[in-house]
């Protein structure tokens, strides 16, 4: 009985040590921490955006999030929202406003349509504004403000999270 309790204590102590070491290890080696985030993708009818959860590394959070968004949904019932070949060139956040500069392919490879354009813009905007530090998103192309993406939306202004386009449960 005595021996048993002793070994239990030892085991617990050992576990604590191991846990401590592994936690300490994280900070020592600065392993990127991971975070669960939401990506907004269009539904089949392109009526609404539906969030899909994804785990990303937090080392370059916004780039990682957009890169996951660009790679498209895992759920087959959702659609891609970003045309192929687009790259994120720069992200600047100041006073709650994120200026995100994309490569020209966002315009050149876009499939058009008001709906197609809205899905693209709000999938970016809603995805980025889920973070507390981002209230609005200004989309830039090669660092410049552009009139529009596909001939409908006014991209000279910045956009905040659009509740109406997210499908209600």
């Amino acid at each position: 009985m005595e021996v048993n309790r002793l070994s239990k204590t030892a085991a617990v102590f050992f576990l604590i040590i191991i846990t401590a070491i592994s936690f300490a290890g994280c900070s020592w080696f600065r392993e990127p921490v991971e975070q669960e985030i939401k990506l907004y993708f269009p539904d089949q009818e392109a009526q609404f955006l539906i969030p899909e959860n994804r785990i990303v590394k937090t080392d370059e959070l916004y780039y990682n999030v957009l890169s996951e968004l660009f790679s498209g949904p895992e759920d087959e019932n959702l659609s891609v929202s970003i045309p192929p070949g687009v790259e994120v060139e720069e992200i600047n956040i100041q006073g709650g406003r994120a200026e995100v500069s994309f490569s020209r392919e966002l315009i050149d490879n876009h499939w058009g349509g008001s709906t197609g354009e809205r899905m693209t813009v709000y999938s970016i905007v809603n995805t980025l504004t889920q973070f507390d530090e981002i209230d609005t998103v200004q989309i830039l192309i090669e660092g410049q403000v552009v009139e529009t993406l596909a001939g409908h939306m006014d991209l000279t202004i910045s956009f905040g999270f659009l509740e109406d386009i997210v499908q209600k449960d």
Partner: protein, 736 residues
């Protein structure tokens, strides 16, 4: 001391023996797999000196070989259907058919059984052995395909690999452009394999990929291989085809013309000339130099031809023709992409370049077609004379001092033309007069900014006045006598000739044309009573355009601005069969115009042709109207082909009138064309957000949906949609 050492030595000895033993026969952890069966136990593999040996008798049994031990020769014989394999004890050589292979151990006798190296033997018999390093599995496979031949397709644009049946393959990326590597799974070469590709430019080699059953085919060339690395392999029945970029076959002189023949689309080469010696250079993008038979060219004027790969990235083939002085070639467009034709043109000479206060004059000995255009910043007039050379008297530069011209420069430009540059004080119009005398041709380019014409157009309740100029000019509009007189003041014009006085019409009572001073001309319009006028031309323009209306647009009048989406280089969305949004939007808009123009007071279209107009310009055009409604016509798209239906947008900040307009139009449209109702939505679309009037944007149907695209392609459907939208607009006015 010594006694103490003995156990130590014993231990060392034991370790050595154990180590040697395991080193020699530590073959328990390998697996030999044949026909998905582990045949280890039967074969009893031993690993000695890096060679895997197996029991010969078991091997013969499993692979159905006839085995014979010839005692007096100390030789083992194994016979398959057609191949005989011989190995002599204590010899590393293995004779397979009439080939000999060297093994590291040779044949070994272990405890009375013969053991033979199994890899060279089975490979000699035509089996393929794959070694999975991680699991130490040797997998023995039968080849699944036999490669019979490698040859060029007839047009030499494809290499064809003929095989019994297709087997998985992959293109290996190599850093060397001269090398193309293809791996074909489970393949072997036929005994009768024919290589009809290797020649002095190409060399084909086959290798086994180490530890795998793939056969690696490498094609090496003296030149970079014109192969699209991102996969130009196509599969045919029992063959792989590797497609190549076009190459040139020959350069010939025929019908007094130089002809460059290729095996495919040679594209559009860039042409230019080099001096000393005179050379014509032709740069062909995306064309590769391969084997090319350059025949001696029996061409006049051409001394030599060379063909080279000028650049690999981007890929450019350069053809250089050494030609006689003063000879030039022109491309003759014959419509054939694989046969480019060039003909010589004679050189023209330029003489006597002079000028007076308003014109530039020059002469040539042959008739030419000068290419004349103006450029801005700084303002200049350019005259290009093709295949022309300057005679001795023509200076490089000539200072001129008059109101219009600062100086004249001439130069040889791009080696095939003379360029005359006239540096101007300001952009002007120009006219050219050509005449000939004594076999010479004289060209006079008149620099002027004159009035070409003045038009008055009289409509139902408006009068338009247009002053058309030869070049852009600065102008101002002044109102005198409470607007009874409108004066157009224009800078930098020639005297306006009497005959430009137009026929007086409509609201224009009289026109007075006067020269105010050296700089300014005046066109004074005496007007009848009018209610409103606007200027439709931009700040500095070639056509100054005024529009007078004889009645004001009263509150409650029905003005409609219809905005057909996209246009010009912006097609908008494109349907799966190629129908463009810009075309659909324009046609529906024109049909709306037809439908409502008699039922409202004024209809304006932001575009009436296939032309790009920025969103800002559309908004500007709409906001010129003080009253009215704005209706932008579009066709929708998304990434999914099943998205469908009709939706109408208004701006989030817009008031009730926009919403009512949207409801009227949307309701009529959904009822009229019967597609899914996606509803009225609010979003920050540029044109509806920035127009200062009730504004909607209508997405009639989805071009990305094949069914709706086919509807949108019909005249009937477009008419139905247009009339429904038109009814909605009229309903809006009637409710007002």
């Amino acid at each position: 001391m010594r006694q103490k050492l003995i156990p130590f030595f014993v231990l060392i000895l034991l370790i050595t023996i154990l180590f040697t033993y395991f080193n020699n026969s530590k073959a328990q952890d390998i697996n030999i797999i044949y026909n998905n069966e582990n045949v280890n136990e039967k074969l009893d593999p031993l690993e000695i000196e890096g060679e895997i040996l197996v029991r010969a008798s078991s091997l013969a049994e499993i692979f159905d070989l006839e085995l014979r031990w010839i005692h007096h020769l100390n030789t083992l014989e194994l016979k398959a259907d057609e191949i005989e394999i011989k190995m002599m004890q204590h010899s590393p050589l293995m004779q397979i058919g009439n080939q000999t292979r060297v093994t590291s151990t040779g044949l070994l006798d272990i405890e009375g059984s013969k053991y033979i190296p199994f890899q060279p033997l089975l490979e000699g018999l035509g089996f393929l052995i794959e070694f999975e390093v991680e699991d130490k599995n040797f997998k023995i496979n039968q080849p699944s395909t036999v490669i019979q031949e490698i040859r060029w397709a007839d047009d030499k644009q494809e290499i064809i690999v003929e095989m019994d049946e297709l087997s998985p393959y992959r293109i290996k990326n190599t850093a060397e452009p001269e090398k193309l590597v293809l791996e074909i799974e489970d393949a072997v070469l036929s005994d009768e394999f024919e290589d009809n590709v290797s020649d002095k430019n190409f060399y084909v080699r086959f290798n086994r990929v180490e530890n795998e059953t793939a056969l690696q085919m490498s094609i090496v060339s003296r030149y970079p291989i014109p192969f699209h690395r991102d996969g130009n392999v196509s599969e045919g029945e029992g063959r792989l085809k590797l497609s190549f970029l076009p190459t040139i076959d020959n350069i010939i002189w025929q019908d007094n013309r130089l002809q460059i023949l290729g095996n495919g689309d040679l594209g559009d080469p860039e042409m230019f000339y080099l001096d000393n010696p005179q050379r014509l250079v032709l740069d062909f993008p995306q064309v590769m130099v391969t084997e090319f038979e350059k025949e001696a060219l029996e061409a006049p004027f051409i001394d030599d031809i060379s063909v080279s790969q000028f650049s690999h990235d981007p890929l450019i083939m350069r053809v250089v023709l050494e030609i006689e002085e003063d000879k030039y070639f022109n491309r003759v467009y014959n419509g054939e992409k694989d046969r480019l034709v060039f003909q010589t043109v004679e050189e023209t000479r330029l003489y006597n370049l002079t000028q007076d206060s308003r014109s530039i004059i020059f002469e040539t000995d042959r008739e030419v077609a000068p290419d004349i255009f103006t450029l801005q910043d700084p303002a200049r007039l350019v005259v290009d004379l093709f295949n022309t050379e300057r005679s001795k008297g023509i200076p490089d530069q000539k200072a001129v001092k008059n109101d219009l011209v600062k100086q004249i420069r001439t130069s040889r430009f791009q080696d095939d033309r003379v360029r005359i540059v006239v540096d101007l004080e300001d952009i002007t119009g120009f006219n050219m007069i050509q005449s000939s005398r004594n076999g010479f041709f004289q060209y006079e380019i008149m620099l002027s900014n004159g009035v070409r014409d003045i038009f008055i157009e009289d409509g139902d309740n408006y009068t338009d006045v247009q002053v058309a100029l030869e070049g852009k000019a600065r102008y101002e509009i002044e109102e005198h006598r409470a607007g009874q007189e409108i004066e157009i003041i224009i800078w930098g014009l020639d005297d306006i000739p009497e005959q430009t006085q137009p026929e007086l019409k409509g609201l224009v009572n009289d026109i007075e044309i006067t020269q105010l001073d050296d700089e300014r001309s005046s066109i004074l319009l005496h007007m009848d009573d009018y209610k409103d006028f606007e200027v439709n031309s931009i700040e500095k323009d070639e056509i100054i355009s005024l529009s007078f209306s004889d009645r004001e647009i009263a509150a409650g009048e029905r003005v409609v601005i219809i905005d057909p989406g996209h246009g010009g280089f912006d097609p908008g969305a494109v349907g799966p069969s190629g129908l463009t949004e810009k075309e659909v939007a324009l046609d529906i808009s024109l049909k709306i115009y037809e439908f409502i123009s008699d039922r409202v007071d004024d209809v304006v279209l932001t575009r009436t042709e296939d032309k790009f107009i920025s969103l800002r310009e559309r908004v500007r055009m709409a906001n010129q109207k003080e009253e009215g409604v704005f209706v932008s016509i579009h066709a929708n798209a998304s990434t999914r082909s099943n998205s469908e239906g009709t939706e109408t947008f208004i701006a989030p900040n817009s008031g009730t009138p926009s919403l009512i307009l949207a409801r009227d139009i949307h309701k009529e449209l959904v009822a009229g064309i019967g597609l899914t109702n996606r509803g009225i939505k609010r979003d920050n679309f540029y044109v509806i957000r920035n127009t200062e009037m009730p504004a909607v944007l209508v997405e009639v149907a989805f071009l990305s949906n094949p069914h709706e695209e086919s509807l949108l392609s019909t005249d009937r459907f477009r008419q139905d949609a247009a009339e429904a939208i038109g009814r909605g607009i009229i309903k809006y006015f009637e409710e007002d």
